[in-house]
Subunit: 396 residues, 2 copies
């Protein structure tokens, strides 16, 4: 297997982008990445598009072929990859395998989703199409519903508190307000939201015990990366190459109820273990991590399952500030899904783009993790039924 | 790159399968393939699902994760690949790259589509979601419409005749009637259909000059293959390994009107060239081929573009019987899309399954191409905007 590096990244600000089509967003992010790699005038060998919902939301298929056309990248090969909210990381993984095999030298991976066309219950319903088609979806379970039940179990088993989840929400909105790509730029405080007399109105219960500010927004957005063999990185691009040091992907039962212990996110643990083993690194070697905080509980649970903290310690660590930018292990310095937003097909790519910014030391001081050399991403499909992890390393 | 072999294949009869869900069909074909490889009791490292329309047709996403769950293949990695009607070949290609890279040893690729839930204009509309979302779809162009215009141009430029297209239809329905997996088992004759006084009713114009019997049916179906490194094939399975000797994938302009010469299917030529170059073989070395005859015209045009015949000679060759089972180059001995049916996500996988049957010499004499050693498949996405080709070789 050849070592694979990221030599270019691109992203557009997430949020409500009524003026842009899905194809527009994918094209802008892709051009940004090609530009970043210094490859605007060159083509690529293959294109992977990560997208979950164009069929349902835009009544559109063959998005990868349309993107190649839009960018005049013919005759590059093009495929669309779907793995629910982990589509982005799955697409990068397949791009990495394609380059690692020796078949392709340059691959563009672009993830995007245009979700704001449906809001309210229709957005929740769209996301619920990833639940089991026979034993979950027909009975009306939603992802927030699953997350609420999961939180309750976590509280009972590990003593997780609402205060600990609030610490995650406040941290991620604080960091998102510093991120020009973030959907939500609003700083929240205990006094302003949680202790306000209007809290019941402004932060209503969504799926008990989770409230409004425990949830990521519904966003439009796109992000892109360019991959090539590490050995060719410096001749193709002037940017500091970021090595895909390790990756892993694991599945679990599609339904929560079939899991022996529903608080045990086995696929998260396995995907992370695979990635760390391949990279020959350990969780303690990670300088900065992007976890999949579609709900605040997920950041806490994932921080334990990937090995940053022992089971039951993640919430306390967040409360003590150990996961903030100056803490022991900075998590979601980007603002996470909670603030950057969660255009499902884009998220896994956006996580990797953020880590590349961090490892290239390109961010403003308030957002830059000092001397970051090793990064980690976790992209969570379904309710943990298909999880993809990456360990990335700055290549000096 | 490691050489990759197919060590198991599975398929279910295509047609109208009201009693089966999409997941049922994918599971049946996958179990058939695992069984064929002698791997029923073993797992696989990764699963790829080829599907175009579950979002639109079944309001369902994350099909690959659901299939892993259904088959109890956790923690195997799982991704869904979409490339319109070429989704099947794209999924196999990505499975091949994954094994070739050295990262995975055993990969299941299953393609499926449940299309009969929508018939008539809704089926045509579903397929049209692969046209360009801005400059084609909103104006009402459909795939049959494109094929009709393409046929007219081909007739004008190359002197293609309706008689030649009829020869393709008769050949493929004759062969499909011998294939237990085929949707359509009806033999058609010149007298019975084309020269019948009821021809205008029974074979009406669909998209002039194409008529009803120039089109593939709308089908449900699924097919699957198991991949592994060639060097491990004999220790994993008792079946004669079929080597993926070469493959290629190329894109063209998404819209027909942007092509300098709309009769020139550049992506078909390029994908085939790539596959033959990698295999170090030539079109004349092919013993049996599966081409993408969603419309009779496509079999003729593809047979020329991949190099079996000179431009303008494909129709004549079909009329002379050169593409029938005992001809110079047997094409669509399975009955093709025309008879086997065209459940879009399944088709590219089904083509490869048919060639594996042929190269393992497992078919009944009327369907078996004698001593077949080299096979070829062509899976056509969009209207030739994203094409995938394979050269397969019996590995003695």
């Amino acid at each position: 297997m050849r070592d694979v590096a990221i030599i270019g990244v691109g992203m557009i600000p997430f949020g409500r982008r009524d003026e842009d089509s899905l194809l527009d967003m994918l094209a802008y992010a892709s051009l940004d990445a090609l530009d970043d790699a210094g490859m605007s005038e060159k083509g690529v060998d293959a294109v992977y598009v990560a997208n979950m919902g164009a069929g349902i939301l835009q009544h559109q298929t063959s998005v990868a072929s349309a993107l190649v056309d839009r960018l005049s990248l013919q005759p590059a090969a093009a495929d669309t990859i779907e793995n629910g909210p982990a589509s982005g990381a799955s697409a990068i993984k397949n791009g990495v395998l394609a380059v690692a095999s020796g078949y392709y030298d340059t691959v563009l991976v672009a993830g995007g989703e245009k979700m704001r066309e449906v809001v309210g219950w229709k957005a929740t319903d769209f996301v619920a199409t990833m639940t089991h088609p026979e034993v979950e979806y027909p009975y009306g379970i939603t992802l927030p519903g699953m997350a609420g039940m999961f939180t309750r179990l976590y509280m009972e088993k590990y003593g997780l508190t609402q205060e600990q989840l609030i610490a995650v929400a406040i941290k991620n909105q604080k960091m998102g307000a510093l991120n020009p790509y973030a959907h939500v730029n609003m700083v929240i405080t205990r006094e302003g939201i949680y202790e306000s007399p209007d809290a019941a109105v402004n932060n209503p219960v969504a799926a008990d015990p989770l409230r409004f500010y425990d949830m990521c927004p519904v966003s439009d957005g796109a992000a892109a990366v360019i991959l090539c063999p590490l050995e060719k990185a410096r001749e193709i691009s002037r940017k500091i190459p970021v090595l895909i040091a390790g990756f892993g992907q694991a599945t679990d039962t599609h339904t929560l109820q079939e899991r022996e212990d529903p608080t045990d996110l086995k696929a998260v643990t396995l995907a992370a273990e695979q990635a760390f083993r391949m990279a020959n690194l350990k969780p303690k070697d990670v300088d900065v991590a992007e976890l999949h905080d579609a709900f605040t509980i997920l950041e806490v649970a994932e921080s334990e399952h990937v090995g940053f903290f022992k089971k039951g310690e993640g919430g306390k660590a967040a409360e003590k500030g150990e996961t903030s930018i100056n803490g022991k292990i900075p998590i979601n310095v980007s603002g996470g899904l909670k603030s950057r937003g969660h255009p499902v097909g884009a998220t896994g790519v956006a996580q990797v783009v953020e880590i590349v910014f961090q490892l290239r030391h390109e961010l403003v001081p308030k957002r830059q993790v000092k001397d970051a050399k090793v990064g980690f991403t976790l992209n969570f499909g379904g309710f943990g039924n298909n999880v993809v992890a990456f360990v990335l390393r700055r290549s000096e």
